[in-house]
């Protein structure tokens, strides 16, 4: 075992205590050709393959579970290959980050509009694999909405080009089968690296919008009022450019915030202002105040209480429909469950209004709420994972989408069945642990 084989386990999720002896090789390819060689070598040795991007996600997909495997990091595949301003796309290797793409686009007054808070490290390959997005998915959609096509290599070395119309491949029989199954970008999105390894993406870019925005904040007496205000913004198709709810925050990091609150940025327009005033009591914010609140929000996942350590049990709660408008009930139920299991709620915050996709590829709109808890002392990984499993059940009971941005196929039957169907055609070989019946147990062993 070498140290590079161990360190590949570094990732932002709570699943980081890997069984390193199962990692048979770690690779940092620079080109599609190098990826192909690694894939064929894994195939020859009968090993699974786990692709890894920036490791900033919380799902644990990039750990590869407990399979004997090769790990392929895309961190050295970060070239921006072509920029077409006229046709509004960028061809890019999977390891590039939104920030790296936008640094190159800025002089052209163009922008790639996918902006997760981890945009300095999250890679576009990872973002499509989790269908991530930032606080502007309401306006700009998730990663899949901004992806035109992806190139992938499968376990047998076949190459695929997947777009919104279907699949092209150097293996014509495979191409026909996948097109018959209706494979599109929808399937690559949120597949957590279970189908193949992405070697290139064509992503959508748009002109840099320069519009005058104003900031506002509304503080609410209770969670229901917050949820109803978000629902009203959705119903009114209100052009929110930035929207963040801070629902709860521990006193060590709350500062002088009065919670729950909703911070918005939207175009300066009298008619819009009137509409907004009818929805809730929004107070204007100066640019500095907006920046302060944005900064407070963006740091919440990274800060710790004075005593104890925060942990993200769960990527996000997709509150929509009744679970949003009756948010007090949702929050109370989730918090009670957490406290029953010894966790102290640390912070709840998230994008609103926001957009995500359900397992059947239909759109959902609401609040993508992240949650951080103070971890109890002396709990085993398995016990902690049990809480995660309980939360999944609780979400399903409450009509909340569990982990909307980073859906685990194992908690989403529709998505899981679809991936398994495609893998029957493709042949598997990638990140298979996610689809195993004991995936929960494996994850629990890594907490």
């Amino acid at each position: 075992m070498r140290i590079r084989d161990v360190v590949i386990g570094a990732n932002a999720s709570m699943y980081y205590r890997l069984n390193f002896s199962k990692i048979r090789g770690v690779f940092y390819p620079r080109s599609e050709q190098e990826v192909l060689q690694i894939v064929l070598k894994a195939n020859e040795q009968g090993l699974d393959i786990t692709p890894k991007g920036g490791g900033s996600g919380l799902s644990g997909a990039c750990t590869g579970g407990d399979r004997e495997r090769f790990m392929i990091s895309t961190l050295q595949m970060r070239e921006i290959l072509t920029i077409s301003k006229d046709q509004r796309y960028v061809d890019v290797q999977p390891g590039a980050t939104p920030n790296e793409i936008n640094d190159l686009l800025e002089p052209l007054k163009m922008k790639f509009y996918v902006a997760p808070s981890s945009r300095d490290i999250a890679t576009v390959g990872g973002l499509i694999s989790t269908d991530g997005g930032g606080n502007d998915t309401w306006v700009n959609g998730t990663m899949r909405d901004n992806t035109i096509r992806v190139k992938m290599i499968l376990y047998n070395g076949a190459q695929l080009v997947v777009d919104w119309d279907g699949v092209r491949s150097n293996d014509k029989s495979l191409e026909e089968k996948l097109n018959r199954a209706g494979m599109t970008i929808h399937d690559v999105a949120s597949s957590h690296g279970t189908l193949g390894i992405i070697t290139e993406l064509r992503v959508r870019i748009k002109p840099l919008v320069e519009e005058e925005l104003i900031g506002g904040v509304a503080e609410f007496d209770d969670y229901d009022s917050l949820g109803q205000a978000i629902q009203s913004l959705i119903d009114a198709k209100f052009p929110v450019r930035y929207g963040e709810a801070i629902v709860q925050a521990h006193e060590d990091v709350r500062g002088d915030l009065r919670l729950p609150l909703l911070v918005l940025e939207y175009p300066r327009d009298d008619a819009l202002q009137e509409k907004l005033t009818a929805i809730a009591d929004f107070r204007h914010l100066s640019k500095e105040e907006v920046e302060y609140l944005k900064d407070t929000r963006i740091k919440l996942p990274k800060r710790n209480p004075k005593e104890g350590i925060q942990v993200a049990l769960f990527e996000g709660y997709g509150l929509h429909g009744k679970s949003l408008t009756e948010m007090s009930h949702s929050i109370t139920e989730v918090n009670e469950l957490l406290m029953e299991d010894g966790f102290r709620p640390f912070a709840k915050y998230g994008h609103a209004p926001s957009k995500w996709y359900l397992g059947d590829n239909s759109e959902a709109f609401g609040l993508v709420m992240h949650s951080r808890e103070i971890r109890p002392e002396g709990r085993s990984g398995k016990e902690i994972f049990k809480t995660v499993a309980r939360i999944v059940d609780k979400c399903l009971e409450l009509g909340i989408t569990p982990k909307p941005e980073h859906k685990w196929p194992f908690s989403d039957d529709v998505k899981k069945k679809r991936i398994m169907k495609l893998r029957d055609i493709i042949g598997g070989g990638f990140n298979s642990f996610i689809l195993d019946d004991n995936a929960g147990e494996v994850l629990g062993s890594m907490v």
Binding site: M1, R2, I3, R4, V6, V7, I8, G9, A10, N11, A12, Y16, R17, F20, Y28, G54, G55, S56, S73, L75, Q76, T97, S118, D120, I121, I298, K299, P301, K302, R303, N304, E307, G308, I309, Q310
Partner: protein, 368 residues
């Protein structure tokens, strides 16, 4: 809570790390190293992994950019400092290459292992014609002055630094400053030992320097070296004596300066230890602006010369500066800096380089 446990492994420190940028593999990143500490209980029985980890700790420039970027408030510089000390303590045989440094500092009190008397010989020989009364400004028992100049090992012994020493002395002379140079009585500031986590060794050197500075009744100690300044200002316990970087000293002293006559394209490389660790950002730029130097800012990134990397992994150090040079497009630019170590790195990469004090001395000279 142990400091490294605060890390949530978000990865924001990866792409800003000069070592990760060069190598591109996770084990060289701050997150990778903190991760190893977090899972040390799982790997500590593997001797080879331990050895590799200890080596990784010294493949770092200690530029502090990871500490600055960390939203989880992990004091990474503190972690690296502690872990380096622990590594050498646990496996001294793996760091035998540092023995020469430790022996030199213990026996002759400079990093080069040269005769302590030579501290005041190289630059005296070179500069005594230009500054005939220079010897009077070299400290010996009984001499006192308002300002004590602490040259540091690089500037005392390296021929490549003579223009900086000349610029400093020239500027002090022109402004009529009452100054002394510590000369042969100057011991290394202890920074190299501090960078290896050897606080006890560093303390012995500091004790001597403090004694000399107090005997000279200096009110201010001035140095051109940010590493020395870290030691002088934070660890020498100089009491009422203020330790200043030369840019701070001259920026305070000179409300205005003559305009530079140099018209080439300049770029300012801000030394990591100066701006990030000591927080001295304003004064170098203020001096450049007073002299009307037309300069552009370079990225606030490391040159590869810090953290003893030149000694622990010179090839890696070279790669950092070469990549930096290519990225910043400085081949036709004069790089201004304010650190002898950065200067050495830039010179080694074939960059045209000046210290701010050289520009100041020229401007003062031109005025006359």
């Amino acid at each position: 809570m142990v400091e490294f446990d605060k890390c949530v492994r978000c990865g924001s420190c990866l792409k800003i790390c000069p070592i990760f940028e060069v190598i591109g593999e996770e084990q060289y990143s701050p997150r990778g190293k903190l991760y190893l500490l977090q899972i040390m209980d799982m790997i500590e029985n593997d001797k080879e992994l331990g050895k590799e980890f200890r080596r990784l700790l010294f493949q770092c420039t200690l530029c502090g950019r990871c500490s600055e970027t960390c939203s989880s408030d992990v004091d990474l510089l503190k972690v690296w400092h502690e872990q380096r000390g622990k590594a050498i303590h646990e496996a001294p045989e793996e760091f035998a290459y540092l023995d020469a440094l430790r022996d030199a500092l213990s026996e002759v009190k400079n990093i080069y292992g040269l005769d302590p008397e030579d501290r005041a010989v190289f630059w005296m020989d070179e500069l005594e014609d230009e500054f005939p009364n220079l010897e009077e400004h070299v400290y010996s028992e009984g001499k006192t002055a308002e300002v004590m100049v602490f040259l540091g090992c690089l500037m005392s012994f390296r021929g490549s630094q003579i223009d900086v020493v000349r610029g400093l002395i020239s500027s002090l002379e022109k402004e009529g400053v009452d100054y002394l140079l510590m000369g042969a009585e100057e011991f290394c500031c202890g920074h190299p030992l501090y960078l290896t986590g050897d606080d006890a060794g560093a303390k012995q050197l500091r004790d001597h320097n403090r004694d000399v500075i107090h005997k000279a009744k200096a009110k201010t100690v001035v140095t051109c070296c940010p590493g020395c300044l870290i030691q002088l200002s934070k660890y020498h316990e100089l009491g009422d004596v203020e330790a200043l970087h030369h840019t701070q000293f001259f920026d305070r002293l000179l409300k205005t300066t003559p305009k530079t006559k140099r018209s080439e394209e300049f770029a300012y490389h801000d030394p990591c230890e100066l701006h990030r660790i000591l927080g001295i950002k304003k004064e170098p730029r203020s001096l450049l602006n007073k002299m009307k130097v037309n300069f552009r800012e370079m990225d606030l990134a490391c040159c590869g010369g810090g953290g003893l990397l030149r000694m622990t992994d010179p090839n890696l150090s070279d790669k950092v500066i070469q990549l930096r040079k290519a990225k910043e497009r400085i081949q036709d630019t004069t790089v201004v800096t304010a650190c002898p170590s950065c200067r050495e790195q830039l010179l080694s990469a074939g960059s045209k380089t000046v210290d701010i004090i050289e520009l100041l001395a020229e401007a003062l000279e031109d005025e006359q």
